[in-house]
Subunit: 246 residues, 2 copies
């Protein structure tokens, strides 16, 4: 019985961080909401499984929001938490507690950047349209480009530079889910903010190299070339609105 | 040798979630930046220990930001990650992996609300003053009051209602760090948004009861009455700006 991943079927979003880990490990999984309705898939199936509708008698530990992972009786929400759970099972984290807690710490910092990237187009209200908060988005995006991207990328660069096992990985010398997530973060930033990202990455050789290496891992490259990889688009977290780049 | 907690000495902020866990456990810890300079304390000591200054040769696993915990050779950042690490050591989380991953999931959702509460007064740029982003703050705070507070409180209420061990705790029947963090979250919301919080809590009897219970735990009550508890203020995450409540 494989893993069930439940996430919005039309975007990479936060689910993509989980997909990349599952793909790199060659894990047996089903992306439930992307399956046909008559095969038990679709958004309805996801929402039912989330068990969070009024009157639902389902799962007694309901996630707050997708993505969530189902593994047998366990229903696990929060992206970084899913990766914390999957890491040891997929061989994508070190075996010591020190390595695991550090890998998770990096993942949580990646999650912080992801949310800030989201908030560049939704600085006021997550349920409203971007078009309803464009002036505020322009201001927030400017701060993100000028201050936050350099600050975060600089931290990842330092983490790589200080890794005693060498700058090729974030933690130790093996691929961790944090390496894959940093790939996804930078890939998203490059999509949404091509100019600001190029500028920010110009003096970050270790981050640039890591991202290139991750994208060329055979399983990741095959995944990225497959139709399982949803294209970036303007419903996701990383959106290309040229007026927000610069 | 006790734990070292490193956090900004003038605010509760994110450090408070760690402080409450340490206090409830009666743990041996030092709040480093609040100690006198001549005793090795102060913000300078914290920044040096963070090892994140240019040219620093210190800690090779530098946290992105305070709070961070030092336990022997380990330096651990990210609030939820610190609690993940401390939980088993302080007896503030269940012993099963299922309980631990669920407790952490709740903690990460609390962290999401905390960040949203922060962004009500800093919707545009974290390093700028509130006074520079007041119109945007008014808009974001309105959405937070009207949509986000009810949605999050409703989720915590459901989590309590569905706990098979009863609605007195978030996970199982013992106090977890998530229970203490929910206390802190609600206490902060009540400080920053007294009107909106009262409205939101009116039909959340389980959340209301849990928060009251946590505040009356003997060690927590003693801590809250001590000078170790910093008062809420307008430099922290939860700020009382009457124009943002309503």
């Amino acid at each position: 019985m494989g893993y069930e991943l439940h996430y919005w079927p039309m975007i990479q979003g936060r689910g993509e961080f989980v997909r990349l880990a599952l793909e790199q490990a060659g894990a047996d999984y089903v992306d439930v909401a992307r399956q046909p309705h008559d095969a038990g898939g679709g958004i309805d199936a996801m929402m039912a499984r989330m068990g969070d509708e009024p009157g639902s008698s389902g799962n007694f530990r309901p996630p707050f929001a997708p993505p969530f992972l189902v593994d047998g009786d366990l229903v696990i929400g929060q992206t970084a938490n899913i990766l914390l759970y999957l890491g040891p099972r997929l061989g994508l984290v070190g075996t010591s507690e020190a390595d695991r807690i550090w890998t998770h710490q990096i993942q949580l910092t990646i999650a912080d950047v992801v949310l800030e990237a989201h908030d560049t187009h939704h600085p006021i209200a997550v349920m409203d349209y971007y078009e309803e908060q464009r002036p505020e988005a322009a201001k927030r995006a400017r701060d993100f480009r000028e201050n936050r991207i350099p600050k975060y990328l600089g931290w990842f660069e330092r983490v790589l530079a200080r890794n005693p096992a060498g700058p090729g990985r974030l933690v130790g010398d093996a691929v961790s889910y944090a390496d894959l997530s940093l790939f996804q973060l930078v890939d998203g930033l490059r999509y949404a903010f091509p100019k600001a990202s190029d500028r920010g990455l110009a003096d970050m050789p270790r981050v640039t190299a890591l991202v290139q290496t991750m994208g060329r891992l055979p399983r990741i490259a095959a995944y990225l070339a497959s139709d399982r990889r949803i294209a970036f688009n303007e419903q996701g977290i990383f959106r290309r609105y040229p007026e927000l780049d610069g």
